[in-house]
Every structure is written in structure tokens, then in C-alpha cells.
Amino acid sequence: MSAAARRLPRDHAQWILPIIPFATLVVLWVVGWQIAQPTLATMPSIGQVWETVARLSGNGELWSNIGASLGRWALGFVVGVITGITLGVLAGLVPTLARLLEPPATFFTAISGIVWLPLAIVWFGLGAVTVTFVIWNSVFFLVFAGTLLGVRSVQPVYEDAARTLGAGRAHVVMRVVVPGAMPYILSSVRSGAGFAWRALIAAEIIGATTGLGAMIYKAKEFFRSDTIVAGVIVIAILGLAIDMLVLAPLERRTVERWGLVTSSRRPA
């Protein structure tokens, strides 16, 4: 009872305190805008941004751009995750393969993502294929490295135990190795999603005509700062939502379910 009472103000603080910086920013924006009275080309007012969001979502422009961005992101991300995990598990099980793949993987991680854009444009032209390729590229090498690390972290004693109990090779891989590596895999998937979202916006600004990145870059040509600010806010909210509503809970649940530290379940 008393412990709960003592914790209560902290719980409130956890919700109230974070509002302060956001509120301060909004106040500065409103007051600053009133004082400077900038043109729409320079800086929109909050009201103008709100009207723009309403207008763009009303005529469907916002939704089609969100759809284009999310679709490319999801395609590149899913393919990147599947290929990354598959190759990572294979390399984790076959040391020779790992020795062959690791050095080039390190190098390609250094140029993953946006660096490929000029070549991708030459190969695939401007548009969805190029953007998806860049997304795949930013996800794949991260997930590959994370999976390899995860598979290596699985203690051989678990594999031996399963084998002693008569498990076959496939069973050991699917029920021991992959679940054991899952916490590492998911943390790399989560950071891969973040990298991919950043790369997506950059790729769309430079090499696409639809999507949120292209939308804000086009707005710059027409000196519409309201559309830019609205787009940036939507990009941030979507990026946060993907991370906080999908990936963070997934990671938490996996660590609880399969994490070798807290798990009370026997691993086979």
C-alpha cells in the first residue's frame, strides 16, 4: 500500500513530464510565428499545417503517399528480414560459410542503403524497384549479422541435450537454434526497420515521384513549407508507430518467451 502510494507520483511524472518539451516547442512555434509573421514559403503556422493535413487527407493525396511509402518499406523490409535470417542461420551452422560471408558482409554494411542509389537508378530506373532495393539493402546486412551473432550465442549444451533426446537436425535448428538466437535476431530486425525507414525517405526524395519523401521534396519546389512540415510530422509518427507498436512489443515478448536469461522453459 505505502509502496504503491510512493510509486504513484512517479507514474504521473512519467506521463506529465514528457509533455513539457513538446508543449514548449509548440508555444515557441506559435509565439515565434506571431512575432515574425513569416510567409508560407518559410514557415507555416500550426493552423496552416493542420489545414494542410486535413486537405491532403481529404483529397486522398496523403493516404496514397503513405500507402506508397509503407508498401515499399514493407516489401523491402520483409524480403530483407527473410533473406537475412535464412543466410544468417546457414552461416551460423556452417563455419566455413560464415568465414566466407563475414568479410564481404562487413564491407557491404559500410555501403548499405543510400550509397547504392545511383547504381540502382541506372539499373532499375526511378521508382518503386529502386527504392525497394535500397530498403532491402539496408535491412539485409544488419539482420544477417544479428542472426549470425545470435546463432553463435546459443550454447552447444542445448543442442547436445536435444540431440541426446533424439532430435534430428531439422528439429534442432527449428526448435533450439532459431528460438535461441531470436532475441539477437529481433533486436537487429528492430534497428534494421529504423535504418530502412530513414533510407526510404532519402531514396524517395532523390529517386521517386510518389511516397512521403517525394511529397515533401516536391513541396519544396512549390515553396509550400506547410506540406513539408506536415509530411515530416507524419514521417516521424509513422516511424515511431512502427517501432513502438509493432517491433518493441515483439522484441519484448520474444525476450520473455525465448530469452535464455529469463526463460523458465526448457529449450527443446
Binding site: 543510400i114 547504392w116 526524395i205 513539408i228 514521417i235
Partner: protein, 285 residues
């Protein structure tokens, strides 16, 4: 089979089942190390082979893929023209200025926010929000304000590197066990002593991790920014080569970007991080 091998290696002598007489463990280890050293370039040679074969087998034109030799020729041409050294030094200079500024601004802010539990609590979601807004996403706004200028590019790098540095520094201060600051306070140390003897050294490992992360993000933002700004640098070089389908220049630039990043990250920042973590890190890894 493999079970038996594992049991044997766990219980028997480290020499292993078939030990060659007259070849000591140290020599065999050295031989193995040399073997591994030789293995390291092998995958790259295989990639080169696949590259040459792909060009030949599919009959790809030079507009799609050029030979590795042509990449070297392109790089040589760019050095002869004198553009490549200029682009490299321009990109590195931009990265250095941007990340130094980010560290100079971000570390004090991160320390200040980390001093109090409530400060960290207050700014955690705020920083997360701006972490989700990548530097390239605010580039259109910066272009409206500052035009296609050097200032725009510098601000993109500064902003990109700043958020992870603040975040990591703040988290670093918060994870210092309170017993250290309590010890200083008990012995009558003032706030300044606290900062100098507890917060800065205690958070140093996290600060270096944040700086490394910030430079990593900053480098990517710089390349993307250079493609758009069009005022020189490696990003502009590979993007401009695309217009004339000079694949050799694009590939040379990409390889250079990768090598430069690996030098910065693996040969400078990673060793710095390791030394810091070993000397000042609070967690034993």
C-alpha cells in the same frame, strides 16, 4: 558422432585425437592463423570472379556493369583530373566539422539532461521523436530556409549526429550507480567535483558509443545530402556519374565510400571505444 567428438575434446588433452609428432601446438595455431589470413581475401576474389563472369555470361553492356579493371581505370582518371582527392577531402571535412560540432553541443546537453532523473524522464520521448525524424527528412525544410548551400549540408550532418550523442550521453549519466555520487557528496564534494569526477568519467564510455553512432548516421546523411545539394563531395560524385551512365565512376566511388567508412569506424572509432570502455566502463563485458 559429433557428440562423441565434443565429449572427447572436453575431457582429453588439448592436442586432439590425431596430433602430428614434432609439430607443437603454437606452430599449428600459427599455421591455422595464416590459413585464416589467406582465407580473408578469398570471398572478395570470389565476388570479383562472379562480377567478371556475370558481365561476360549475360553480355552486360558498359552502361550496366563495367569490369573491375575499368573501375580502377575510372578511379585513376578521376585522380588524374584532380576531382577525386578534392571530393574525398570535401566529404571528410564536412563530416569532421559536423560531428565535432555535434559532440561539442550534444555532450554538454546530454550531461545536463542526465543529471536529474526527471530531466531524463522529461526529454526521453522528445529525443525519441526527433530520432525518428531523420536529417534527410528535414532537408527540404532546410533547403527552403538556406538554399542549396554548404550551411544546409552542415546542418543536416550536425542534426543527424546530435540526437544519438545527446541520447547516449544522457543514458550514460543515468546508468552510473548512485553510490559514486553519494560518496562524493558525503565527503563534501560540490557539484563541480561531481561532474568532473563522477558524471563525465562515468558516462565517457556511453559518450564515445554515442559519438560513434552519430558519425555513422552522419556519414550516411552526408552522402545522401551531397547527392541532392550538388556541391561536390563523394555523394555528388557518384550521383553525377549516374547521369552519364559512367558505371566505373559510380563503383569506384561506392568502394571508396565503404573503405573510408571502415577506416573511420573500425580503425579509429572502434579502438577508441574499446579503450574507453576498458578504462572507464562501469560494466564488465
Amino acid at each position: 558422432m559429433s557428440g562423441a567428438r565434443k565429449v572427447a575434446s572436453a575431457t582429453a588433452a588439448p592436442a586432439g585425437p590425431v596430433s602430428l609428432p614434432g609439430l607443437s601446438g603454437a606452430w599449428r595455431r600459427r599455421g591455422r592463423a595464416i590459413g585464416l589470413g589467406l582465407l580473408y581475401p578469398l570471398p572478395f576474389l570470389l565476388i570479383l570472379l562472379a562480377w567478371v563472369l556475370a558481365k561476360d555470361l549475360f553480355g552486360l553492356s558498359d552502361d550496366v556493369l563495367v569490369t573491375p579493371a575499368a573501375v580502377i581505370t575510372s578511379a585513376g582518371e578521376l585522380v588524374d583530373f584532380g576531382t577525386l582527392p578534392g571530393d574525398v577531402s570535401l566529404s571528410l571535412k564536412r563530416l569532421a566539422i559536423g560531428s565535432l560540432l555535434a559532440a561539442a553541443i550534444g555532450v554538454p546537453i546530454g550531461l545536463a539532461l542526465g543529471f536529474s532523473r526527471y530531466g531524463a524522464m522529461m526529454f526521453d520521448p522528445f529525443l525519441r521523436f526527433f530520432q525518428a525524424v531523420s536529417g534527410i527528412a528535414i532537408l527540404p525544410l532546410l533547403l527552403v530556409w538556406f538554399g542549396f548551400s554548404e550551411a544546409t549540408l552542415q546542418l543536416v550532418i550536425l542534426y543527424t549526429a546530435l540526437v544519438p550523442i545527446i541520447f547516449s550521453t544522457m543514458t550514460g549519466v543515468r546508468t552510473i550507480p548512485p553510490i559514486y555520487s553519494q560518496a562524493i557528496e558525503t565527503m563534501g564534494g560540490n557539484r563541480l567535483r561531481l561532474v568532473r569526477d563522477v558524471y563525465v568519467p562515468g558516462a565517457l564510455a556511453s559518450i564515445v558509443v554515442g559519438v560513434r553512432l552519430g558519425i555513422g548516421y552522419g556519414w550516411r546523411a552526408l552522402i545522401a545530402g551531397e547527392m541532392l545539394i550538388g556541391a561536390g563531395g563523394l555523394g555528388f560524385m557518384i550521383f553525377d556519374a549516374r547521369r552519364f551512365h559512367v558505371i566505373g565512376q559510380i563503383l569506384a566511388g561506392m568502394i571508396l565510400i565503404g573503405v573510408l567508412y571502415l577506416i573511420i569506424d573500425r580503425l579509429i572509432l572502434k579502438p577508441l571505444e574499446d579503450v574507453t570502455v576498458r578504462r572507464w566502463g562501469l560494466q564488465r563485458v
